[in-house]
């Protein structure tokens, strides 16, 4: 009970069955505005509704999604945590500013497109061009952690942040050598860590394989621990993941296209 004698609502359940996306998203805004102490929204029967969580800035809110949300999940979002019990369509975390997206399934193409901050944890695989144009700024540092594998063009145009590919199935078994091609095409900032070996031929223009140091291991350790705790992976698997060999992919230079142009001054 609050001072006005009204009950403080902390959790709201919305049944999204047969709801059009505008109706559902309006409903979400409505319950957030009505209940200042709201901590959790549970969405049931979600089936392809797009733009869930778009632009929401409430930091301590969790949105639980049961079903398969549509594209642009959590776009421009700044703060909340979205937990999806299912797969997501394309571009979850698009241009996200802050917050967390946890996907108990696969992420679609361009997962984490242009993320500036926040974290995305994907239990299984992601589609093409994931982590494209991720960028960091001051205290904002975007992180994309993929449990399984990523399709081609992972981390294209990457300008900052961190991508981690763990290369395991849902039981924690190794998936074998990563097949993705054109990794880090046009990368000019940030780093991609992939568990296992990557050949030079799998890299895109401007990407380079750098030495994986103990410092790097320290950096990714916290994310591995968090991943294991989120997805209930045992200590043995955690230990394996932390101690594994990773390939670090980073830019050849900060100016991949610096020598592309000549001035037409005369």
């Amino acid at each position: 009970m609050n001072n006005n004698g009204e009950e403080e609502i902390r959790e709201v359940i919305i049944d999204a069955k047969d709801m059009e996306y505008r109706e559902l998203n309006e409903k979400i805004h409505e319950v957030i505005n009505k209940n200042p102490n709201l901590k959790k929204i549970i969405l049931k029967n979600v089936l392809g509704q797009r733009f869930i969580g778009n632009g929401i800035e409430k930091k301590d809110l969790t949105i639980e999604i049961h079903g398969v949300p549509g594209g642009d999940l959590g776009m421009f979002m700044s703060g909340p945590t979205i937990i999806v019990y299912g797969n997501t369509d394309h571009a979850p975390g698009n241009t996200m500013d802050d917050g967390t997206i946890i996907i108990h399934g696969n992420g679609g193409d361009v997962t984490g497109h242009s993320m500036r901050g926040g974290r995305i944890f994907v239990r299984d695989n992601v589609g093409y061009r994931s982590g494209i144009h991720m960028k960091e700024y001051m205290d904002k540092f975007p992180v994309l952690i993929i449990g399984g594998t990523a399709k081609d063009f992972l981390g294209e145009y990457m300008a900052g942040g961190l991508i981690l590919v763990l290369n395991i199935d849902s039981e924690g078994n190794d998936l074998g050598k990563i097949k993705g091609k054109m990794i880090g095409t046009g990368i000019h900032g940030g780093a991609i860590y992939i568990r296992g070996d990557i050949d030079n031929s799998q890299l895109g223009v401007a990407a380079d394989i750098k030495e994986f140091t103990e410092e790097d291991r320290e950096k990714i350790k916290t994310y591995i621990e968090e991943f294991c705790s989120i997805f209930n992976l045992g200590d043995e698997i955690k230990k394996k993941l932390i101690e594994s060999q990773y390939t670090k992919i980073a830019p050849i230079s900060k100016r991949p296209f610096g020598r592309l142009y000549t001035q037409d001054l005369r």
Binding site: F51, G71, H90, A159, F257, T262
Partner: protein, 510 residues
């Protein structure tokens, strides 16, 4: 050794009888043309791009900049420019970078179109004494209006009152159909941006922010800005989207259709880094496509995504470069919940574009407006969506003709820069602009006085607005709405049948 130097394009001369060795030119020229050597000023003509800063500032009128007469053997095919470019590229192996708009002598259809005026019948109107409506609303218009009737009792009588039932989408209210084009902070200096924002506010119109975020100094003018979201998503967050009066998705630019943008690290100063939200000194690369848009359906998704993020309170425009199938693309945009289609013609300006794109890709804006207007009419959606035209609009006549061809409003960019002092030297990409417009160097930026600049831009827009009123009055029209798509008031001169058909106008004499 194969010498790769070419003669300077311009020749700088100082009249020593007039020169008083004040060294003003040495300080003013950011390109390093001048140096004091004992009691004379030495010039390096090869560095001169004829921006005229020195000429304008010399207190003694002692400087002349002429075309360098050094003769290249004339050849109709192998022009001087062609040879210079080959020499440059064979030396460097690089893409030629250029500034400003298309520099080829391709037709400017505006100059082959003349306007109508009233004589005797349908008398002309004097705008100085009669009201002339230039107010323009940009945004989605409903297909039809629905009313509900509510019965009310007034003085014992039951009266049915009509109430609007249709939901009207938010529109931008323009006092003149001229807006300031998207030129990013980063490409342009903060002082230029401030001057343009002040002018937009004063004239009751809007300015585009370009893809560079919104500097906090512009927050007081934010309700007169149109924010831009391009493929790099620089400076885009919820706050940015909610702040502007409208949002524009930039798909393409008239000066470089089909390619992205690239702000070099040198231009990403501490301030630029803050508005773009990227580290200082890092390259700002905008990919060629938006990687979340591979189809018209995806575009519709981004439009709706922005609408959702702003709770459907802010209009969303989509800007495309004028290319061959512009009409079909514009139709796709019109059916996507977007509020306006922006078409940028091939003569549109730029801070930096590969020369091969600037001079060869895209189609004229005049033809694009006509094609888009025509197609949207055929599809029955023209009245629901606005068309904004840009790319090489130089004066009020161009604005007038654009609207008569079918646009609702226009964006002007280069004209605004010229009002701020730009002399179209085309070297914006070097960051050395001696006029303080396209640079981030504080000592150069300070040369541009914000108040004076704002005044000049506002003056330009007001002057054109007055001229448009005069032209409307002469045509016997008292509202800009009656001019929109009114191609009957246009005639072509010296155009062939195909051109006339594409423009949808008759030849003079008919």
């Amino acid at each position: 050794m194969i010498p790769s130097t070419v003669p300077p394009k311009y020749k700088v001369e100082i009249n020593s009888n007039r020169c008083m060795l004040c060294e003003r030119c040495v300080r003013e020229c950011s390109w390093g043309v001048y140096r004091r050597d004992r009691n004379k000023i030495v010039t390096y003509s090869n560095r001169c791009g004829a921006c005229q800063r020195c000429v304008a500032m010399c207190p003694r009128d002692a400087i002349t900049v002429n075309k360098n007469a050094t003769c290249w053997r004339d050849h109709p095919l192998w022009t001087r420019e062609v040879r210079e470019d080959i020499i440059n590229q064979s030396r460097t192996g690089c893409i030629l970078l250029s500034g400003m708009g298309n520099a080829k002598e391709l037709p400017t259809y505006f100059d082959n179109i003349v306007l109508d005026a009233c004589q005797v019948t349908n008398p002309s109107i004097d705008p100085l004494r009669e009201p002339m409506e230039l107010r323009t609303y940009i945004g989605k218009k409903p297909k039809k209006l629905e009313f509900e009737y509510i019965e009310e009792e007034i003085d014992g009588k039951k009266i049915k009152k009509a109430k609007l039932k249709t939901n009207i989408a938010p529109n931008l209210k323009l006092e003149t159909p001229i807006m300031i084009a998207h030129m990013s902070y980063g490409a342009l200096s903060l002082n230029s941006h401030l001057a343009m924002a002040k002018a937009a506010k004063e004239c009751g119109t809007f300015m585009g922010t370009g893809e560079g975020g919104l500097h906090r100094a512009l927050y007081p003018y934010a309700n007169h800005t149109i924010t831009q979201i391009a493929s790099g998503r620089f400076g885009v967050n919820e706050d940015y989207l909610m702040r502007g009066a409208a949002i524009e998705i930039k798909i393409g630019q008239g000066s470089k259709p089909g390619i992205g943008g690239h702000l070099p690290g040198e231009k990403v100063s501490a301030e630029v880094s803050m508005t773009r939200m990227i580290p200082e000194g890092s390259d700002a690369i905008s990919p060629a496509p938006h990687h979340d848009i591979y189809s018209i359906e995806d575009l519709a998704q981004l439009v709706r995504s922005l609408k959702e993020a702003t709770r459907w309170k802010i209009p969303v425009f989509v800007k495309i470069a004028a290319v061959h199938n512009v009409a079909a693309i514009a139709n796709g945009i019109a059916t996507s919940d977007a509020d306006a289609v922006v078409i940028d013609g091939f003569k549109g300006g730029t801070g930096a574009a590969p020369k091969v794109f600037r001079d060869n890709v895209g189609i004229p804006i005049e033809l694009a407006i006509a094609a888009v207007d025509e197609r949207l009419r055929e599809e029955g959606v023209r009245n629901e969506v606005s068309i904004i035209a840009s790319g090489g609009i130089r004066n009020s006549a161009d604005v007038f003709k654009s609207i008569a061809l079918g646009a609702d409003a226009v964006y002007i960019g280069t004209a605004v820069m010229v009002a701020l002092g730009c002399r179209v030297c085309g070297r914006c990409y070097t960051g050395q602009c001696a006029w303080g417009i396209a640079t981030q160097k504080p000592e150069l930026v300070n040369r541009l006085d914000v108040e004076e600049g704002a005044n000049r831009v506002a003056n330009l827009i007001k002057a054109w607005t007055l001229e448009i009123k005069e032209l409307l009055g002469a045509a016997g029209i008292n509202s800009i709405e009656s001019l929109r798509g009114n191609r009957d008031r246009l005639r072509g001169i010296g155009l062939n049948d195909v051109e006339l058909e594409a423009l949808g106008i008759k030849h003079a004499g008919f």
